[in-house]
């Protein structure tokens, strides 16, 4: 007996559970095409009308979307890495080596892709901003979204920077030494910066101290980098990304009509 395919699909799709998740079928009608767009979360990120010119790949090069994709990838691999990494000065480097030496299944792949994707995200953010600048998309009425984007750039750089210390190796240690000493040379706020004496900033109460949780790079600095890297900064960046995408929907795409 040949099974009736129509009957089977109807049985699967014509019920409350299926219909509560999927609101439309695949018929090629004008109404259905609209439904497919507006009921899809990814397509829904686009404004209700998109200019023909902005749909061209060479207009956006999908750079913002790529950045968001990399952020999601970093979140996924980051969560998996957190299962095997301990932010403790005696454990961190060994845990990182374990991951790199495949003491954990897929450990090397996870750690290396997490690191490379981190570099890639900085690059795509920069190219995204270059594209936005060259197409003049930061102008009226999108200035606010540009400002949100600049904050997201800073958060991306901070995510890179805080992730640098976590392997607790020579490279990360000295990178954070140099980076936080630059913070220590900030005017007024840093103990080595100009006017610091005037405001009473010393090595144990300036902005560098606030970042490191001490006067030198010790256990508190590693823990702080870990918490900023894994929880605080991704949450902030995620919240701002929502705002960023929502503004794209509201303000529409730039470019010719």
């Amino acid at each position: 007996m040949i099974p009736d395919l129509k009957k089977i699909t109807d049985r699967i799709t014509q019920n409350e559970i299926w219909r509560s998740i999927f609101r439309h079928g695949y018929e090629d009608t004008a109404r259905n095409r609209v439904l497919q767009i507006i009921s899809n979360i990814w397509l829904h990120i686009h404004p209700s009308t998109v200019k023909k010119d902005s749909v061209r790949l060479s207009y956006t090069f999908c750079l913002g979307g790529l950045t968001f994709f990399i952020f999601l990838f970093e979140t996924l691999t980051g969560i998996l890495l957190m299962f095997y990494y301990t932010p403790d000065v005696n454990r961190a480097y060994a845990d990182m080596l374990d991951l790199s030496n495949n003491a954990v299944p897929f450990g090397k792949l996870l750690r290396n892709t997490h690191r490379w994707a981190g570099h890639a995200m900085v690059i795509t953010v920069c190219f995204h901003m270059l594209r936005v600048f060259l197409t003049g998309s930061y102008k009226v009425p999108r200035q606010f979204n540009w400002v949100v984007g600049v904050v997201l750039l800073v958060l991306t750089l901070l995510l890179s920077f805080t992730g640098y210390l976590l392997p607790w190796d020579q490279l990360g240690y000295w990178a954070i030494t140099v980076g936080t000493n630059m913070a220590g040379a900030t005017p007024i706020l840093g103990y080595q910066g100009p006017f610091a004496d005037l405001f009473g900033f010393t090595i144990d109460n300036d902005i560098r101290f606030g970042l490191l949780g001490g006067t030198s790079i010790q256990a508190p600095a590693l823990l702080r980098a870990y918490v900023w890297h894994c929880i605080a900064l991704p949450s902030l960046a995620g919240a701002l990304m929502m705002l960023h995408f929502w503004r794209i929907r509201k303000d529409g795409f730039s470019g010719r009509l």
Partner: protein, 217 residues
């Protein structure tokens, strides 16, 4: 309604500060507009009620933004809320706030480095964990910081060249700690040295001394 800028003519566009100012103006503008709406419709309602004899004529006036009772309490409420939030934010971020621990578990800045005889004459001994060099010249001792004056990397003593070198950005210092090459802006710090009661050398890294200062034994 797109946002603040749509109510402003394009000629007023400028830098970010102009834009922020416009945002503020927009908010105030909306506030005034809603006031007008309130006044308009409030008055109409009041007039209807006045006609029906429910309220007296003089109670109808709603007043301006500074004189109306409702506006005053709105502003006072916001002021109270924002100042409370501001106080907590200050408590969180200020130098006595959350991110600044009150107790540190760090190595002491004052420590013993050993007997004078532990240091051979005319040598530079590297105390890596303490981030300090002990330089002996005859019967004089100096404690020189390992921290490069450029961006805080650890410099190392080069025996064959007789200088201190920084691996990060190539700063170079003479044996007395004076910088002569690279981006370093000033000589390495020299620290206070002392002798303990049982004859051991003490280095105090919280006390920076002049370059010429030496401990004479």
């Amino acid at each position: 309604m797109r946002g603040p800028q749509s109510t402003r003519p394009p000629s007023e566009e400028g830098g970010p500060f102009v834009w922020y100012a416009n945002c503020l103006l927009f908010v105030l503008d909306r506030h005034q507009a809603s006031r007008k709406y309130d006044v308009l419709y409030g008055e109409r309602d009041d007039m209807e009620r006045a006609e029906s004899g429910a309220i007296k004529e003089e109670e109808v006036s709603a007043g301006g933004i500074w004189t109306s009772r409702r506006s005053f309490f709105t502003l006072a409420g916001w002021a109270l809320f924002l100042s409370t939030m501001g106080a907590y934010l200050w408590k969180l971020l200020s130098t006595t706030g959350f991110f600044f621990p009150r107790v540190l578990y760090e190595p002491s800045k004052k420590f013993l480095v050993g007997y004078p005889t532990d240091f051979p004459d005319h040598t530079v001994i590297t105390l890596k964990a303490r981030r300090v060099f002990v330089v002996r010249e005859g019967n004089t001792f100096q404690a020189i910081s390992m921290i490069c004056q450029h961006l805080g990397c650890a410099v190392h003593w080069s025996e064959e060249k007789g200088i201190f070198e920084c691996p990060c950005h190539g700063s170079k210092y003479y044996k007395d700690g004076v910088n002569f090459a690279g981006p370093a802006p000033r000589p390495l710090f020299h620290f206070q040295m002392n002798v303990s009661d049982d004859g051991k050398l003490i280095v105090d890294t919280s006390q920076v001394v002049e370059l010429e200062t030496k401990l004479l034994i």
